[in-house]
C-alpha cells in the first residue's frame, strides 16, 4: 500500500481583507466577496518566503509522525515563488531534515507544482526506489497590484510524506492531463504574471479539471457519489463549486476542502492544503478525490482512501488548517505592500 504517512500545513498569520483591497483600488467592498467568493487572503510576513513556509509545513508533518532524515529518499518542492531563481529550495529542505542520501529537485508548474511533487514521490515509492519521500507545495504568490489577482494571490503550503508503511491515506489511483494553453504566464525577469482574462476559466480551469476528474473516475471505476470529499484547485471561492456541480458533486462534498474564501489562492499550496483540511477531519474508509490545476495548463488527480491507521495517527500533535485560518492578524493595504516588498525606494 502506497500513500500518505503524515502531512502538515502552514498558513502565515497575517491576513488582508478583500474589502480593504477593494477600498484601495476603488472597487465596491462587496465586489470580491460576491463576485469571487473571497473574504480575506493570507500574507507572508516580511521574513517569510516559500522556503520558510515549506519548512514550517514539513515540521508540522514531522510533529504528527517523525520520520528520520536518513529514511527519506526524495524531496520535491513545488512552487512558482522559489526564493532563488537559481539555487534549489529542495536542498535547504534536505539540510533541515538531515536527509542527505536523497533525490532532491524543485518543480514549477503554476498552481499544480505541489501535486506534481506528490505524484513524483508516489511513483518513486511505488517503484521501490525509496521508502519515504517528501512532497511539498508552497507559494508566496503575487498579483499585479490592482489586478484581479491582487484579491486572491496569497501564501501557504503543505507537506506530505509518502511511503508504504503505516499509511493513513492510501493513494489508489492518480492521473494527469496536460495541454499547451496560454491562460497565465510570467516571462523571465518580469515581477508580476499576466493572464488571458476570461480565457482563464472555460478552456483552462474547467476543461483540465473536468477532463482529469472524469479520466480518474473512469480508471478507478468510481462515480461522484462514491466520494465523501472532493478537493479542487481553488483560485477563488466560486470555481470549485461550479466545476464540482458540473461533474456531479454536491456542495457538502466540496465545502469541507474549500478554504480559499478565507486565505485566498495559495497556488502550489492550494490543492495540497485543501486535501490537508479534509484529512484533518476524515475518518477511516472515507474516500477523497483531489484535482489540482496549473495554468499553462494541466491537472493532477488523486483517488484516496483513508485507512484504519488514521485512528493511531497523532493528528493533534500539530495545528490543523482551521486552527491556522482562525489565528489571523489583519493588516491594511500599506502594511501589505511593506510586507510584500512592493514599496519602491529611491536609492
Amino acid at each position: 500500500m502506497v500513500g500518505i504517512v503524515t502531512y502538515g500545513s502552514y498558513i502565515p498569520i497575517y491576513r488582508i481583507k478583500t474589502a480593504e483591497i477593494a477600498r484601495m483600488w476603488g472597487d465596491k467592498p462587496e465586489h470580491p466577496e460576491k463576485g469571487l467568493g473571497l473574504f480575506a487572503k493570507s500574507v507572508p510576513a516580511y521574513d517569510e518566503d516559500a522556503a520558510t513556509i515549506a519548512v514550517e509545513a514539513l515540521r508540522n508533518a514531522l510533529r504528527r509522525k517523525n520520520i528520520p532524515g536518513d529514511k527519506i529518499g526524495a524531496i520535491f518542492v513545488g512552487s512558482e515563488s522559489h526564493p532563488y531563481a537559481v539555487k534549489p529550495t529542495a536542498s535547504l529542505i534536505a539540510e533541515v531534515l538531515g536527509a542527505y542520501r536523497a533525490h532532491a529537485a524543485d518543480l514549477e508548474f503554476a498552481c499544480k507544482a505541489g501535486t506534481a511533487a506528490m505524484q513524483n514521490v508516489y511513483a518513486m515509492v511505488k517503484a521501490g526506489m525509496i521508502d519515504y519521500g517528501v512532497a511539498i507545495g508552497t507559494d508566496t504568490s503575487q498579483g499585479q497590484p490592482g489586478d484581479a489577482l491582487d484579491y486572491s494571490a496569497s501564501a501557504g503550503g503543505t507537506a506530505y510524506i509518502i511511503g508504504k508503511d503505516e499509511v493513513i491515506a492510501e493513494i489508489n489511483h492518480t492521473v494527469s492531463f496536460v495541454t499547451d494553453t496560454p491562460d497565465f504566464w510570467r516571462r523571465e525577469g518580469q515581477r508580476y504574471p499576466s493572464h488571458g482574462g476570461r480565457f482563464t476559466g472555460e478552456p483552462a480551469y474547467f476543461k483540465h479539471i473536468m477532463s482529469t476528474a472524469k479520466m480518474l473516475m473512469e480508471e478507478a471505476g468510481t462515480k461522484p457519489e462514491d466520494y465523501d470529499y472532493v478537493v479542487f484547485h481553488q483560485p477563488n471561492g466560486k470555481f470549485p463549486y461550479r466545476v464540482g456541480k458540473r461533474l456531479g458533486f454536491k456542495e457538502e462534498q466540496i465545502k469541507p476542502g474549500l478554504i480559499s474564501p478565507y486565505i485566498g489562492n495559495t497556488y502550489s499550496g492550494g490543492t495540497p492544503t485543501g486535501l490537508s483540511t479534509v484529512l484533518d477531519i476524515a475518518k477511516p474508509e472515507d474516500r477523497i478525490i483531489a484535482v489540482s490545476f496549473g495554468s499553462g495548463a494541466g491537472s493532477d488527480a488523486f483517488d484516496i482512501t483513508v485507512t484504519d491507521e488514521m485512528e493511531n495517527f497523532n493528528r493533534d500533535a500539530a495545528p490543523k488548517v482551521w486552527d491556522m485560518i482562525n489565528r489571523a492578524k489583519y493588516i491594511d493595504y500599506a502594511t501589505y505592500l511593506k510586507f510584500r516588498r512592493m514599496i519602491v525606494e529611491v536609492d
Partner: protein, 134 residues
C-alpha cells in the same frame, strides 16, 4: 555575515543542533567541542543534541532604531530565550505586537529569513521565535 561562516553554522541555525557534555550533562548552544566545566575529560566525547525549540522569554528589548536590514520590521523585539535544555538563545520574536511581549512568555522557534545580503546575495535562514498559542 560572510557566506562561509554561515554555511558552517547552518545545521545549528536551521535545526537548533547543539552539543551535550556526556560527563556533566550540560547542553551547549551554539555547539561546543569541549565542555568548559569538564575540560579534557570531555574532549572528543561531546554529543550532538537537538533543542526542542521551546522556551520562555528571559529578557527582551524593543528596537525602534533604523538598523540596516530591519527598517521594514521595526519596531522589532530581540529577546533572550531560556530553553528547557539549559542554553539561553538570542533571537527575534515575531508575529506579535511588541507591547504584548513579557518576561516569562512561552515561545517556540520558527524558521524564518534572518538576513539577506542585498538583492543579489545569499539569503540566510534560521530560527526566530513566536508566542505559543494562548
Amino acid at each position: 555575515m560572510v557566506v562561509p561562516r554561515f554555511w558552517r553554522e547552518r545545521r545549528s541555525r536551521y535545526s537548533l543542533i547543539g552539543t551535550r557534555c556526556p560527563v556533566c550533562g550540560t547542553v551547549y548552544f551554539p555547539p561546543r567541542s569541549v565542555c568548559p566545566k569538564c575540560g579534557r575529560k570531555s574532549v572528543g566525547k561531546m554529543e550532538e543534541v537537538q533543542l526542542s525549540g521551546k522556551g520562555k522569554v528571559y529578557s527582551y528589548t524593543i528596537v525602534h532604531q533604523n538598523v540596516i536590514g530591519y527598517k521594514y520590521q521595526k519596531p522589532y523585539v530581540m529577546a533572550i530565550i531560556e530553553t528547557p535544555e539549559g542554553p539561553k538563545l538570542t533571537g527575534q520574536i515575531v508575529d506579535v505586537e511588541p507591547e504584548k511581549v513579557h518576561i516569562g512568555m512561552p515561545v517556540h522557534a520558527v524558521f524564518r529569513r534572518i538576513a539577506e545580503d542585498g538583492k543579489a546575495g545569499i539569503i540566510q535562514y534560521g530560527y526566530k521565535f513566536i508566542p505559543d498559542e494562548e
